[in-house]
């Protein structure tokens, strides 16, 4: 019995699940037997729920707009550079990387690769089948994992990017724990780790780095992009 939570698409593995083609002659009528499940009318039930969800959020944002003012500083002055000059918060992860790497790497190559990687996710069968990373071919995959992680850690140490090193090591530790776990593990958490595919680990690492780098760029960087403690300013 498979514990997977989905059915793969019809053409995800053509050898195992050949596509079925139905020929319907003119005399017989086509009959489709599909699993029916309970549905709700979009009008009015679903639209009503969506409206309520949006209204609740609107109340929250209106309250925030009444309590907190949007920042407005002095008029733009090209001859006076504030220190530090910070980008909007969602780009501060990028700006933090610009501190360590040349602009062509941190500003062009990395974001370009991230967007490319996100776009291609659904076009690889490995992400569709989503088998646990270390369930098959464990020894070889573990070797590759150690080489790739080792190279990444070395790279981050050489460029002294310790803020990105910490999340990398934490995710790597969980991956090693996943490699030591199996679907038969007594602990539910380890069964969960064992079932997670490669894309899950890469995405979680990306999310972790994104949150950490953005938070550091927002709260922990002061004049000259030096490290500051937000509670000491």
């Amino acid at each position: 019995m498979s514990t997977k939570d989905f059915v793969t698409g019809m053409d995800s593995n053509a050898r195992k699940a050949p596509r079925r083609v139905a020929f319907i002659t003119r005399r017989t009528s086509a009959q489709v037997k599909a699993v029916d499940e309970e549905t709700l009318q979009t009008f009015p039930e679903v639209l009503f729920r969506a409206a309520v969800a949006i209204e609740v959020m609107a109340i929250g944002l209106v309250t925030m707009a009444l309590l907190f003012n949007a920042p407005l500083e002095g008029i733009a002055d090209p001859s006076h550079t504030p220190n530090p000059a910070k980008a909007p918060w969602y780009f501060l992860g990028l700006q933090e990387m610009l501190h360590y790497f040349p602009p062509v790497v941190a500003g062009v190559l990395v974001p370009g690769l991230v967007v490319m990687a996100l776009v291609v996710i659904p076009y690889f069968n490995i992400n569709i089948e989503a088998e646990g990373l270390f369930l098959k071919d464990r020894e070889r995959r573990l070797r590759i994992f150690y080489i790739v992680t080792g190279a990444l850690v070395l790279f981050l140490v050489v460029f002294r990017v310790f803020v990105a090193l910490v999340p990398t090591l934490i995710v790597a530790a969980f991956m090693i724990l996943a490699a030591q776990s199996s679907p038969q593990s007594p602990s539910a958490f380890r069964r969960y780790l064992a079932s997670k595919p490669l894309s899950y680990w890469i995405m979680s690492w990306f999310l972790f780095e994104l949150v950490v780098l953005t938070a550091i760029g927002t709260f922990f960087r002061g004049p000259g992009w030096s490290w500051v403690w937000p509670w000491r300013s």
Partner: protein, 259 residues
């Protein structure tokens, strides 16, 4: 006997004018309710029916719906802000000051626009990660995932171009820092930088370009892709449902299983 409110509504919906506007006709039968969606140019992007289990909060956290909500709020507050704003130097800053201190509810409008914008960027990211962890990018939904990535980029650009418009120190230097990254693109970097700003520095030309991008080009692009994004949900079989989630089976299916 006095009529109830519902009956007045029914009478209204039966009038010739109402029926000339809404093609679906009156009545609350399932058919009429389906037609209310199907026969409406905006609502027909959605399916007429939705699986009940997809409406539980845990399935989606309503992140897509809420993102649409922030977008609608941004359109409304943005249009109102445009009534008081000139994209020129130094008038842009004076207009922002006026919004802050002179215009009735101007401060509230600007606050709401700003916080909604931050909320939208956050929600778009949250929506993307939620969809990923659910595995909802699986065929046949691949292309809708790609459109989602395009919408993420459009949202970031919308927020980024809007950041310059107050023309204060915060805006000016954030855009200077950000646009310098464009110069790092190999070969074409300086050309892209020049095209984006309409000059070598952030100046009045850059303000006008960012204004046109922010108020015209990018919102139209967003609406275009949002429409496809919603329509594809319907075409790709509705929201992605897990096998393991409890589904309430109808009688026919139960009868079939009993055999």
């Amino acid at each position: 006997m006095a009529k109830t409110v519902d009956q007045y509504f029914d009478d209204l919906r039966d009038t010739r004018v109402w029926r000339s506007i809404f093609r679906s006709g009156t009545g609350s039968s399932t058919l009429k309710r389906s037609l209310a969606i199907q026969q409406n140019v905006f609502l027909h992007l959605f399916a007429t029916k939705v699986r009940r289990r997809m409406l539980s909060f845990s399935a989606t956290w309503y992140l897509g719906t809420l993102t649409l909500g922030t977008f609608l709020m941004l359109v409304v507050t943005g249009i109102l802000l445009m009534l008081y704003y000139h994209p020129s130097v130094p008038q842009a800053y004076a207009d922002t000051k006026d919004l802050q201190f002179v215009v009735s509810s101007g401060l509230f409008l600007r606050n709401l626009h700003r916080w909604s914008a931050h909320a939208m960027v956050f929600l778009v990211f949250a929506h993307m990660f939620k969809v990923f962890y659910r595995g909802a990018y699986r065929p046949p939904r691949e292309f809708n995932w790609v459109i989602g990535i395009v919408l993420l980029l459009v949202t970031l650009l919308l927020s980024y171009t809007g950041y310059l418009l107050p023309w204060d120190q915060l805006a000016y230097w954030a855009i200077t820092v950000g646009s310098n990254i464009a110069s790092a693109v190999p070969v074409f970097g300086d050309k892209i930088h020049f095209m984006l700003l309409g000059g070598n520095l952030v100046n009045a030309n850059a303000l006008l370009r960012f204004y046109v991008l922010h108020c015209m080009i990018l919102p139209l692009a967003a609406i275009f892709f949002i429409a496809i994004h919603f329509w594809r949900i319907r075409k790709d079989g509705g929201l992605y449902a897990h096998q393991s989630e409890p589904s309430t089976l109808t009688k026919t299916t139960l009868a079939k299983e009993a055999q």
